[in-house]
Symmetry: C2
Subunit: 290 residues, 2 copies
């Protein structure tokens, strides 16, 4: 405890010393203002028999798709539909296996939102080279990439990211089928599909599901489907039924110190410091609100 | 089928045209000599109640650890021990939870084999930049990195790679505790731990296990442990009990064409070609031998 107080003091007066900290030091030294409340109106609860998967949506990147998902959830489209696909080291996907359930007032097809202008985004850039993109970093807590401050920007396919399944038609999706990445970041998907958010808690309820044995990891029999009890926005539930979470902001000196603590892990175990980090290896801390 | 014959002809006469192929085209056009038999003496079967996990060991990179694992397996050290740790987006680990089982004639501690000289390795280099290493590529079918042809080389922590658990002492491990990567490549581990091989089939029996709820994903109760029926080298079993597998060689023009087919996925679905690939996203095809 003494150590964490000391480090808090150092952090206040000389942020360049942050490189000597571990992630735990950084988190212990964090201030309340380094955290943000998970906004209930953009928080989706995917309720399974085993537990609650909590997703933060990203309307900054996919406003049309988030709006359509809002309609689908409000009209209870997802309730009772199943998880139909679990492909190892790739994705878990849910939706209507028969494509027959009425969409109500939701739109049937939306114009793709694969990228958006980088201008106007508060982009916290990572210092290290990336295989796939000229620049990577974070926007409002989401891992992202851009071509430069005046080019295009997009959310990156990291573990736990949530996207909108589509066929070969880029403008044919509506948000009725969603997937979550459960393996090594499939970055080749970037800019080819609309990403709508990320799982902030409970991804293990998806990643530990039995793998589908059909092509692309689809379950071959309806008996294998994993039922979804319901999907709700946090804002639809009374306060006592919500999971009160806070996330570390990604636009602060504390987050910069956290990134540095993971680029160079200064603890007893590591002997060779990587000195680098890729956008999908940066942890995005979540904690329960007091 | 006509297409694949045509492409085979193109591949023969002009490998530069390979960039127009899909992975399926490349595999259909492959010759028998593009494949190698999984060597029984380096093939480990981790037998669970649910199925067989097949691991290829890499004595080129970790000769001392592979030799010690050979002794441990021959003396049936692993039989009846459990999987004790499943940490989401990280690793599955097995071994002796009490650290009490006698090691027999196996060594209790080995000098680390984190890296080795690059000289002497047949290194198929990838063309694209990597966040963590100056050069990445493949050696004898394993994903690897090096500092240059005259520097050090090491196996990279990709999905499915198998390593030797250790404490803070770099020379304190013996191969009694092994782990498999089941998430986004934790490349910060590279050069910090001995990597002994990779899973070539059945990784889903590990990656779909319930996550441990203790610190670092350890199971908190013995009742949660996942029993290992037995661990055997393929060479210890009669032919009819072996899984006959072949792997695509990584030192051939066919493999180069496969890499190119994944750097630029030329099918109806992809609209923006990545033009790049990272070492942990290159598929390493496995097929059942005729």
């Amino acid at each position: 405890m003494r150590t964490s107080i000391l480090l808090a003091a150092i952090l206040t007066f000389a942020s360049s010393v942050a490189c000597a900290q571990t992630m735990q030091d950084v988190l212990e030294a964090s201030k309340p203002s380094d955290w943000r409340v998970l906004p209930p109106e953009n928080t989706l609860y995917l309720e399974l028999e085993t537990g609650r998967v909590i997703i933060e949506l990203a309307p900054e990147f996919a406003p049309r798709h988030v709006e359509n998902i809002r309609t689908l959830v409000r009209e209870r489209y997802f309730d009772g539909l199943p998880i139909i696909r679990v492909q190892d080291n790739y994705v878990v996907q849910w939706g209507d296996p028969d494509d027959k359930k009425p969409l109500g007032t939701a739109k049937k097809a939306l114009t793709a939102e694969f990228t958006r202008p980088a201008a106007g985004l508060d982009f916290t850039r990572l210092p290290d080279p990336d295989t796939y993109a000229p620049e990577t970093g974070f926007v409002s807590g989401f891992p992202a990439a851009r071509e430069g401050a005046e080019g295009r920007a997009w959310l990156t396919h990291c573990y736990g990211m949530v996207g909108v399944a589509r066929g070969t038609d880029v403008d044919g999706a509506s948000g009725t089928g969603l997937y979550v990445v459960i393996g090594h970041a499939p970055r080749q998907l970037d800019r080819n599909i609309t990403v709508v958010g990320r799982v902030v808690q409970g991804v293990e309820y998806l990643s530990s599901l039995p793998r589908g044995t059909g092509p692309l990891g689809f379950y071959e029999k309806a008996a294998q489907y994993v039922p979804i009890r319901r999907v709700r926005f946090a804002s639809e539930l009374p306060a006592e039924e919500r999971t009160q979470l806070e996330l570390l902001r990604t636009d602060t000196p504390t987050f910069e110190a956290l990134v540095e603590s993971r680029r160079n892990r200064r603890d007893d175990w590591y002997k060779v410091l990587a000195g680098r980090i890729d956008v999908c290896s940066v942890p995005l801390p979540v904690r329960v609100r007091d």
